[in-house]
Subunit: 387 residues, 2 copies
């Protein structure tokens, strides 16, 4: 295949030549691999998928250089940074919006200061839906710019993140909007469980021995548990992989709960870590995380800031994978897990890289769509100007 | 499909239930869609592909919300931001490295201050190869950080970008490295032509009427020309789409050449545009660009800064696509092309979105791998300390 027959000069540019014929092109259609592949296990009725961007079907990378450098010959990376807004949050967003498109709901809301908010803004833009995001007033300007560029409405809530969640959920109830809040909508778990199905298929319909996962609010890990459990329920697997959750040392409520020494508020410093995506003081579905980890025979562990930053560099330098610190937490946890005997270097272990940070592209932040709100009336007034 | 039979409370988290059975899971293997699909038209001998990351197979988006907003019902976006380092440069990098892996060459070099350098660093890291990048001393710190995080060696060349290109090419010759410089290695065109094949297949083995493309050095547009020409050579198409190249108003050497009023050095201000990826004063294969545009019946046009930034916002807000200004140039050019009668709103038109900017993930920039060099001897000395 691919035999070059010569070379041609095209206005100073060298063009390789082949023995041209229609047989050089594949006859079949190029396949697509997206999470809709699993729609028999998703709450999606028959009929064409309306969501307009391909989601999921992310690579499971064999990372030869990282395997060699770390002495883990059966290590894999599930690279969720390849989703449209560069994180695994795109899966949940897509399923919630697909449901809304089918039911004729025109607005989606969530509270989040991070990837979920950006994914919601981007997904809504692609689907021609309105996104209404609630953030605390200390939300990063870069993330605000990504949201407003995608034409989302963003309400900054002075009373902080918990109040933002309450307001988003109240708005969803009051106005009949789609509620994409973590832990509030079971569709978010349904969508994210497809990562488990993909890993199983990409390993040749085999399960890994262990999967290491960053943990903030918890849905990513809990969804993997559900996905692997469903493979067992379907008679396609006989056991589930051990799930190992990773948190940042400065904010590790679930690691502390796991070890039987619950953390008080003074023990949790979310601002103390660069892994803002997992720096959650009160995980939305923490009990479900502890339950999933226990049933899987896994564990929870905390990693230092230097381990997180070093993992970012190692992913870039040994695997060609760009990750934000929260996205690199699984690799940071790997060494720790090996040292504690939670994972053997020779086992088949999958690291979930959940996301990377992207730039807002230099466009103006669209400040007209950012407002402060403390109650539903202010939200309603701000949106009233818009059709 | 996807009929939910009930709901289960799992430690406070709602789990939807299905009528489980193995038939709910697809029986076939999930397909992969990468540029290696076209290897009969690539200079890749038989045998397994060694490059460890999937490349290409990027989505052709139907952008319903953008179509509606812009009155272009047959508009498509080919979204190259979905490649591993978030730009179309990953294709060329992958093919050059694949060749090196087969021939046992352990180092790849390029000069570039932008996406090609980042793609080279990332691709080399994944392949366990050494990358040696040459940049001018005004290279952005963010891009330097991405390169050094990926363990590339970066040499800053005080005499500027043209000298960096010369030094990179001299080093490739002297040390037997892979030369990935734009216009120097025909494999870069070979790899990038796969975008044309993908568009054709994704449209159902049909060609668009026109394709609009950002133009800097030129290989992206010239490679599309070659890809479409090869479809004709293979007997799979009868004509080529019109190619419309877009440059930034402040640095439009090819638009000026096209219009018969060549630009002098004083007319070109690469620092005057946010679209740094296409702000090239002396395009490496400019003659080939002019030739390709002419033969295709296309054109070249320049867009203002405000049109570029507005295109970034429109891509985010109407298509859910994140792009850097250079990556958004095709959309900026669309309105202009319609006004001039180069494209009709009802035609099938594909916009190529070439890339987006990503962040370096907060990890230390690895300054130990950045050095200043004016000649090969300094390069050799700096690298001598390593393996």
């Amino acid at each position: 295949m691919g035999s070059v027959t010569g070379s041609l000069d095209r206005a100073g540019c060298e063009w390789l030549q082949y023995d041209y014929g229609s047989a050089l092109m594949a006859g079949t259609r190029p396949a697509s691999f997206t999470m809709w592949r699993y729609r028999k296990l998703l709450p999606v009725p028959d009929g064409p998928v309306r969501y307009p961007m391909p989601i999921g079907g992310t690579p499971l990378l064999s990372v030869p250089a990282l395997r060699k450098a770390s002495g883990t010959p059966h290590l894999w990376i599930k690279d969720e940074t390849r989703n449209p807004s560069a994180s695994n949050k795109d899966r949940a967003t897509a399923l919630v919006i697909e449901d809304g498109l089918r039911r004729g709901v025109g607005t989606i809301t969530t509270a989040s200061t991070g990837n979920a908010a950006v994914a919601t803004a981007v997904g809504a833009a692609a689907a021609g839906m309105r996104a209404v995001i609630f953030v605390s007033t200390d939300c990063q300007p870069d993330k605000l710019a990504l949201m407003t560029q995608a034409r989302a409405w963003v309400f900054r809530v002075p009373a902080g993140y918990a109040a933002a969640v309450d307001l988003s959920r109240a708005a969803a109830r009051a106005f009949g909007w789609l509620d994409r809040n973590t832990g509030a909508n079971p569709f978010t778990i349904e969508a994210k469980k497809t990562v488990a199905f993909e890993v199983w298929e990409q390993l040749g319909r085999r399960l890994p021995d262990a999967m290491i996962v960053p943990v903030g609010d918890g849905p990513t890990l809990v969804a993997l548990d559900k996905g692997f459990a469903e493979l067992v329920s379907c008679g396609l697997a006989t056991r589930q992989p051990r799930l190992i959750g990773v948190q940042a040392e400065s904010c590790q409520p679930l690691v502390r709960a796991w070890s039987g020494v619950p953390a008080g508020p003074a023990d949790l410093n979310p601002a103390g870590t660069a892994a803002d995506g997992i720096a959650v003081v009160r995980p939305a579905i923490g009990d479900a995380v502890l339950d999933a980890v226990r049933r899987s025979g896994g564990s929870l562990l905390a990693v230092t800031e230097s381990a997180l930053l070093s993992a970012v560099a190692t992913l870039a330098g040994r695997a060609g994978v760009g990750a934000e610190p929260a996205g690199a937490a699984a690799l940071a946890g790997l060494e720790c897990a090996v040292e504690r005997g939670l994972v053997d270097r020779l086992e088949t272990t999958v690291l979930l890289v959940t996301g990377r940070e992207v730039k807002a592209g230099g466009a103006p932040p669209g400040a007209g769509r950012v407002a402060v709100a403390q109650g539903l009336d202010e939200v309603e007034r701000a949106l009233a100007g818009e059709c």
